[in-house]
Amino acid sequence: DSWGIFTFLCAALCNLPALPALNCSEELGAGQSIQQTYDLTRYLEHQLRTLAGTYLNYLGPPFNEPDFNPPRLARAERVPSATVDLDLWRGLTDNARLAANYRAYSRLLCYLRVLDGQVGTAELRHRLAHFCASLQGLVLSIGGVMSSLGYPLPAGPAGPPAPPGAPAAPNDFLKKMDDFWLLKELQTWLWRSAKDFNRLKKKVPPAVVTLRLEARGF
């Protein structure tokens, strides 16, 4: 049993007076956080199904029709897309993979917050607020994984409530289209993230143990 051996070694090393005292705390690092982030994406995907159903009904037809398949307008390109070339997706480095997720959810969160301020019914506002809070949790979780693996966090619109330079929709219908695509991209991103984190799970060992060296009196 490797843990047993490791704790023994730790204890042995700790008792050696000549060495600086090692604080042998086993921190469950990246591996555990990846699992938690994966679980969060599944939870959010589940939440989104209910939220999207309610919101699309609020938008009314044709947005709430299951066969609704509009062409993607140029203005919809503002929302970060999960769509990616198959080989490119496979070849992403861990850093690039995590960064893409981080950037996408940060921006999607921004857009959702804007939405929150505009919707009519109290029920929708409540649901959106809850979802935004969970989504914020996901962004933080991804950030946590990146930090524990030593990757820098991508600079991005984590702060401002409205993305700068975003043209307001010229009419009500186009505004609803924007909302439709936002929810669609969000849904697709959550499906993609499950696969992204599956891949990451396999590449990072289940528990990365970190030793914190504390030099005492040296």
């Binding site: 993607r72 769509t83 599956n198």
Partner: protein, 335 residues
């Protein structure tokens, strides 16, 4: 000259004898058999309300010379009804396949044309050699928000029909059932069965796209299934089997996150381990064995003395010992 003619079931067919005049004397045959003149209108052959049995080769001969003037192959059929189309991704993320069939036969040759549109892009669905009514597509992009629209058009000489399917990339993911399902009893465990299986071979990347599994089992004598969902691993030990009862076991697979469950795998049968009945090694059996062996063995009188519990000196003791060993050996053989 000869050609093929397609007509609808129930239609009225008029066949002209080539370039012959209406009032020419001709004889018509259907598959070599002469046709009654009552069917003729001059030199035209009239077939009213044709049915499938009237398909065949129709020939027209000039009256006196028996010169073949015209020949046609009549094929009676129907225009196509709406085809049934199904698309599925059993090899995600590589791509998907579509397969189709006609719910009712047309009795004449049909041609199928399939088109796949993804947003604004036309994609080519490559037809499979086997099975015939199937084609496959490779994904160029993954995690697409734009739906795929597949249109199947079926055409024959009497008409055409079509059907359309629109779906998201994720909605059609359905793996093939797990393969090599095996179930074995566990020695010395009368309530256990060890089940193992493999990922379907069509699933290309179980590392990045892991599958989860659903196991169902029941004893043959009961109707109600028991279910277990397993999020990883390709084996499971059933620990609540009814002792001694034959079980039927099946497994299904699903992508961990998207799509639907596969069909159930081929069923396997297994019975848990049962202990050998103990009564074969009781005292009664041993006495039986010994008396049988003594009678057939023609053992020396001292053996009998041993059986009866009598011990006569050390020599007899030795014989007793060997006799005892023989009894033991025979008992072992009889277990």
């Amino acid at each position: 000259e000869s050609h093929i003619q397609y007509e609808r079931v129930g239609a009225d067919v008029t066949m002209k004898c080539g370039s012959m005049d209406w009032d020419a004397a001709v004889t018509w045959t259907a598959n070599g058999t002469d046709i009654n003149e009552s069917r003729l209108n001059g030199s035209y052959l009239i077939l009213k309300n044709v049915d499938l049995s009237q398909s065949g080769q129709y020939s027209c001969y000039e009256g006196s010379s028996w010169h073949l003037k015209y020949q046609t192959y009549l094929r009676v059929g129907t225009p196509p009804t709406e085809p049934v189309l199904m698309c599925r991704s059993n090899n995600y993320p590589k791509g998907f396949y579509c397969s189709w069939h006609l719910p009712t036969p047309t009795y004449i040759p049909n041609s199928f044309n399939i088109s796949v549109i993804h947003g604004t892009k036309d994609m080519v669905c490559e037809k499979d050699a086997i099975p015939k009514n199937r084609c496959h597509i490779r994904y160029l992009q993954l995690f697409s928000t734009v739906k795929y629209k597949v249109t199947l058009t079926v055409t024959n000489a009497l008409g055409k029909n079509f059907t359309t399917l629109t779906f998201d990339e994720f909605a059609i993911v359905k793996p093939d059932p797990p393969e090599s399902v095996m179930a074995k009893p566990v020695p010395n465990n009368p309530r256990r069965l060890e089940v193992s299986w493999q990922n379907p071979s069509s699933w290309p990347d179980p590392e990045s796209f892991p599958l989860k599994f659903f196991l169902r089992y029941r004893p043959l004598i009961l109707d109600q299934w028991q279910h277990v969902e397993l999020s990883d691993g390709t084996s499971h030990t059933i620990t609540d089997a009814y002792a001694g009862k034959e079980y039927i076991i099946q497994v299904a697979a699903k992508d961990n996150d998207i799509g639907t469950w596969s069909d159930w795998s081929v069923a396997v049968h297994a019975t848990p381990w049962t202990e050998e009945p103990k009564h074969l090694t009781t005292e009664a059996q041993i006495t039986e064995t010994t008396s049988a062996s003594t009678s057939s063995f023609m053992a020396p009188p001292t053996t009998k003395i041993c059986d009866k519990g009598a011990v006569v000196g050390s020599g007899a003791m030795a014989v007793c010992w060997t006799a005892g060993l023989v009894m033991a050996a025979y008992s072992v053989l009889f277990i």
